[in-house]
């Protein structure tokens, strides 16, 4: 791994462990510095009581390059993809912060908070209209999808 990404990730991880994660977010795994998972809850929302697992994968180019972030779908562990208009059933998330809106000054905690707030502000549990078509053809890594953003309100 590159020096810059190792340095930044080590620092972010230390901050998360020392200062703790934001409310509703728990670090599950970070043994592999390139792949972290969090458990995420959205209190006071229509997802109250549901627990989701969010996976981050980092390339050598992090933080210049955005991390690959998706929800884990794992039936044995009981993790499902949140039913949300911007989140596909395979766990892929359509959010500008993960593509064009990424900036190297952002970090993992900021991404977690953005995704948590996507859930908190959601009013109705629906899948994106093109869910089935997308999921059938989606690449394994969501960063390989070229996202379009039509709606900032959810």
């Amino acid at each position: 791994m590159s020096q810059l990404s190792t340095k930044r990730l080590t620092k972010e991880l230390k901050d998360l462990k020392d200062k703790g994660c934001p409310a509703g977010i728990t670090l599950l795994e970070s043994d592999d510095l390139r792949k972290w998972t969090f458990e995420l809850e959205a209190y006071d929302s229509i997802y109250q009581g549901e627990k989701f697992a969010l996976m981050f994968r980092f390339s050598d180019q992090y933080p210049i390059d955005s991390p690959a972030v998706q929800f884990i779908v794992n039936n044995t562990k009981g993790y499902l993809s949140p039913v949300h208009p911007h989140i596909y059933s395979n766990g892929h998330i359509c959010a500008s912060i993960l593509s064009d809106g990424w900036s190297p000054v952002l970090n993992v905690a900021a991404v977690c908070l953005t995704i948590q707030s996507m859930l908190t502000s959601c009013k109705s549990k629906e899948r994106p209209p093109d869910n089935d078509g997308y999921v059938a053809r989606a690449p394994e890594n969501p960063k390989k999808t070229r996202w379009e953003f039509h709606d900032d309100s959810v």
Partner: protein
């Protein structure tokens, strides 16, 4: 909300993004900073092409511009070009390298803090530049070899400095918003206006300056030259029917570098 799988027709922004992506992919593999080449190598690009370019290049040679240096065309070319030429220029005497470093520490870095950029995060991006400015003062090293190892061979060092230069440019534009806003109205991309009909300069900077891989225009060039205390002479080579290239001077300064600008790309040219 759709994914690529469904898109059928592309709008202008998408075409632009796709073009940028193709350019970025094509340029991979070419050096970040090319070796110094003689002008006939540039002429060769137009061998079977436009006479206008050939005439303009020949006239440049007559004016004494005998060498050029290719920069990778991945949307970061301006930032890589100015970094290279800036270090090359100040490495000619150790006092200039010291002043350049002091200028960054006393003006550039405080400006980033003033605009609210996290100093710890910025440190990771500017540390490589500061250490290069220290190392070029060592008379025993060969500057050309050293800059090749750092700014060409080490993509991480080069990219970190690009990111730093982008934030420095952004901070300069935002700090001097009154000077730069008039130019924003002429900007070709989508421009967001605030409630009073003024361009949203922060949004502009995030989209067109800070974003890695986004090409620079004369606005970004002016701002970065200003904060680095560096003059920029831009040699504008295009297909317009004139016998010579157009020259633009951005920031009059005793320390000046020369950029070879062809629409959508920046290289370096030398006397």
């Amino acid at each position: 909300m759709t994914s690529e799988a469904q898109s059928t027709e592309l709008n202008d922004t998408e075409i632009l993004e796709l073009t940028e992506k193709i350019k970025e992919e094509e340029s991979r593999g070419s050096p970040l900073i090319g070796v110094l080449e003689e002008m006939p190598a540039l002429l060769k690009e137009y061998e079977n092409g436009n006479e206008i370019y050939k005439n303009k290049i020949n006239n440049l040679i007559t004016e004494g511009y005998n060498h050029f240096r290719r920069i990778r065309g991945d949307g970061n070319c301006f930032y890589r070009a100015i970094t290279y030429a800036f270090i090359e220029l100040v490495s000619k005497d150790s006092q200039a390298a010291t002043s350049a470093k002091e200028r960054l520490e006393n003006v550039g870095i405080p400006l980033l803090s003033e605009l609210g950029f996290d100093s710890d995060i910025m440190l990771d991006f500017y540390q490589p530049l500061l250490s290069i400015l220290d190392n070029v003062k060592d008379p025993s090293i060969s500057i050309g070899d050293y800059l090749k190892v750092t700014l060409n061979d080490d993509e991480e060092v080069s990219n970190s400095i690009v990111v730093f230069m982008r934030y420095l440019t952004s901070a300069t534009i935002r700090k001097n918003a009154d000077d730069f806003i008039p130019f924003l109205f002429a900007y070709e991309g989508d421009l967001q206006l605030d409630d009073e009909g003024m361009p949203d300069i922060k949004k502009f900077c995030e989209t067109y300056v800070e974003a890695f891989g986004k090409e620079a225009d004369h606005l970004q060039m002016t701002a970065l030259g200003r904060v680095l205390d560096l003059g920029l002479k831009v040699c504008y080579l295009d297909a317009s029917e004139r016998p010579t290239v157009d020259w633009h001077t951005l920031n009059e300064n005793s320390k000046t570098i020369t950029l070879l600008y062809r629409p959508g790309h920046v290289d370096l040219v030398y006397k």
